[in-house]
Subunit: 74 residues, 2 copies
């Protein structure tokens, strides 16, 4: 992911990435409400990609972040 | 993830999960703006977990959704 998108992501910057992520979450919410499975899969992928981009730009690992739920469930 | 949380997730239902996901995205945005790395990692994990929960409840695979970005970049 970083290899494919890292450079463009860093040029965009963190605040713009947060804004994009929020926008994609809105599209996902709409797909859940009235889209079909293909739409939902598409929007899930978009939200995931922006989340991964944000993690990269923050110097954090989404995998580490997710592992907390497996190692130390809330 | 499904084994740990699947049952509670399904009881919660899809609309409530979308609402939780939106709430967690707000917490992530705040952590990005004024939190430290630990806060950001924590909130990234929360958003990821709710996204995974939503995918499970929709009968979709977050991995499939993410793979589109690798196989067929937009």
């Amino acid at each position: 992911m970083d290899k494919l998108y890292g450079e463009a992501d860093r040029a965009r910057g963190v605040p713009a990435t947060v804004a994009w992520l929020a926008e994609e979450l809105g599209e996902l919410a709409q797909a859940v409400r009235k889209g079909d499975s293909d739409d939902q899969l598409h929007e899930l992928g978009d939200v995931f990609a922006w989340l991964a981009s944000l993690a990269n730009q923050l110097g954090l690992s989404l995998e580490d972040a997710a592992n907390r739920y497996v190692i130390d469930p809330p």
